[in-house]
């Protein structure tokens, strides 16, 4: 049934029929989702007849959808696993990765806090509850209030994977449900430590050096900042040049694409 529809669409396109109702299906990571959404919105305004759907289910589901041919682009916040790659090739799908942005998670504190740097291990111990006071990491005697994003967010996923290394968060960790709320809590709480995307670091909260490296566009884009990961869009083979999939996957290279990536709090790979 699906093949029949695809076939008809292709026939229509080939015969140069008037109505070119093209569709673009994206599925996958909730972290990459906002970037894909922003791109999709822009694409809809430029190509009104284009029909784009962005499903935010999770990287694993995105990969499965690409393998089954249910989507054109799989959004993933990690690289494909061995098994996923083998399944894909076994199914005649040849996954190609496009890194569309970098995701750097900045550890932030109240501006009055004299602590300027922490190691990844110290941050993990703070969230795991073994370090409870700022004086254990060279600050004043003041209880630490660790603030985390709630467990359904992509930022949490990144932080947990790159910092916590399988250790459970302590019972006293507070959870907030958005980047702005994490920012607001750290801004107003002297003992707080939180983590947000680079786009949410401003004068009212201070980003810490992690393992001696201050998060910035350069250190995140180059991957030297330790809490950084690339965000992917996977396609089946390299898309045909000039096709809608190609335009979508390379949109991050344009100035508008860079602007949208930045607006979502991620770090673009280009610098206009």
């Amino acid at each position: 049934m699906k093949k029949a529809i695809v076939g008809t669409v292709l026939l229509l396109l080939a015969s140069g029929a008037a109505a070119q109702a093209e569709t673009l299906q994206l599925e996958g990571s909730t972290t990459v989702g906002p970037i894909a959404d922003a791109f999709a919105e822009y694409f809809k305004s430029v190509y009104p007849s284009l029909d784009i759907t962005v499903k935010k289910t999770g990287s694993g589901d995105g990969s499965a959808a690409l393998v089954d041919g249910r989507c054109d682009i799989a959004n993933m916040s990690r690289f494909m696993k061995d098994k996923e790659f083998k399944d894909a090739v076994g199914n005649g799908i040849y996954p190609v990765a496009h890194v569309v942005a970098m995701d750097g998670v900045c550890v932030v504190v109240h501006p009055s806090n004299p602590v300027k740097a922490l190691t990844k291990d110290q941050i993990r111990d703070i969230y795991a509850g073994t370090i409870k006071n700022w004086n254990q990491v060279g600050g004043p005697s003041m209880p630490i209030v660790p603030i985390s994003r709630d467990t359904s967010s992509g930022t949490y996923e990144t932080f947990e994977k790159l910092v916590m290394s399988k250790q459970a968060m302590a019972a006293g960790v507070e959870y907030v449900n958005s980047n702005p709320q994490a920012h607001a809590r750290v801004k107003t709480t002297r003992g707080a430590v939180g983590y947000v995307g680079l786009g949410f670091v401003d004068a009212s909260v201070r980003a810490l050096k992690v393992d001696g490296i201050l998060p910035s566009r350069q250190t995140i884009a180059s991957g030297t900042y330790p809490v950084t990961r690339p965000l992917f869009m996977f396609t089946n083979g390299y898309p045909k040049l000039g096709s809608m999939v190609h335009k979508f996957c390379t949109f991050y290279l344009t100035e508008k694409g860079q602007e949208l990536v930045e607006a979502k709090g991620f770090v673009p790979l280009t610098n206009y």
Binding site: S153, V176, A184, A192
Partner: protein
């Protein structure tokens, strides 16, 4: 004038004068069928809301069965460790059950005295005209969206409490219960005021005629007589607090811990509703985590149904007591 009414009375035909007194069997049958069909249709429409409740109940229980049958129930209810995403997951719900009850009870501690005093003031002290202005305004409190309360809690109340009282964190049990108290107030005031003013003048006049002052009348006569309605109001207020999600999610801090010492309201806590709202999005379909969240939903349903039955009991008692007097 008199003549006119007389004329209309005699000239106007009775409404049914053209209808034959005896129905044919066909008419009899259609009438019978139409009456029953209409009845069935109305019954169906009424039942749809009952059906919605039943469907939700069945759905939530059905989705939680996988967890409830495979996980030790005692561990679920009595264990404090809630680590749903750890490598070796642990679903101890005690902390969040306590959290829900903790903020709801703390909210009642703030809301009940204020609510009952306000209800007495509106029913017995202030003039009828003022009451008719103030009561609807109080009820508007219930119409403010909870996310607006939540923003107030995070952006205003939390920093203020940190500065004023030196709390290490402003999003804590005190913050959540204060906001919940404000949200429960309209329910408590409205229901309590209804039951107090429904007592009628006679009771109060009898009290005054025996020489009681206004305060004595209120404390010794009116409040005891209206106690069933007031208890119902408090229970309804508690239901409002326990089921609230957005506010506690934003204001309570969501730390999975039981305050220690128990009276320390300045510590961050987590409720059942916030846990469901915060974790449902990421729990994979078919996982133990998702099923466990539905099990928490079942617990919440049991709690609110219990409270609902209690409030119904006291409301009917209040009505019966009124009927007798």
């Amino acid at each position: 004038m008199h003549k006119d009414t007389d004329l209309t009375l005699t000239l106007e035909p009775a409404a049914d004068s053209h209808r034959p007194l005896a129905l044919t069997p066909g008419q009899d049958l259609t009438g019978f069928i139409a009456a029953h069909l209409g009845r069935a249709a109305l019954l169906f429409i009424t039942c749809s809301s009952v059906l919605a409740v039943l469907l939700i109940l069945v759905f939530v229980i059905y989705r939680s069965v996988a967890f409830l049958t495979s996980y030790n129930l005692a561990d679920f209810l009595a264990d404090k460790a809630w680590h749903p995403t750890a490598g070796d997951p642990n679903f101890g719900a005690l902390t969040i059950i306590v959290g829900s009850l903790y903020v709801s009870c703390a909210a009642l501690v703030f809301a009940v005295p204020v609510g009952i005093l306000a209800a007495v003031f509106l029913s017995d002290i202030v003039s009828w005209r003022v009451r008719n202005i103030v009561k609807p305004v109080v009820e508007i409190l219930a119409a403010i969206p909870s996310v607006a309360y939540g923003f107030f809690a995070v952006l205003v109340l939390a920093p203020w409490m940190q500065q004023k009282f030196g709390f290490t964190t402003g999003t804590n049990a005190l913050n959540a219960s204060l906001i919940l108290a404000v949200m429960a107030l309209p329910t408590i005031i409205s229901v309590a005021e209804d039951s107090i003013s429904a007592l009628g003048r006679e009771l109060r006049e009898a009290s005054y005629s025996l020489g009681a002052t206004r305060m004595e009348t209120i404390l010794r006569v009116v409040l005891p007589a209206a106690h069933s309605g007031i208890i119902a109001a408090v229970v309804l207020g508690m239901m409002r607090a326990i089921g609230e999600t957005m506010v506690v999610w934003m204001a309570s801090g969501n730390a999975t811990q039981i305050p220690h010492p128990w009276w320390d309201l300045s510590q961050s806590i987590r409720t059942m509703t916030a846990t469901i709202a915060g974790e449902m999005g990421e729990a994979p379909e078919g996982s133990a985590h998702r099923s466990a969240l539905f099990a928490v939903g079942v617990l919440l349903l049991i709690l609110t149904f219990g409270l609902n039955i209690v409030s119904e009991y006291f409301l009917t008692r209040a009505k019966k007591a009124l009927g007798k007097s």
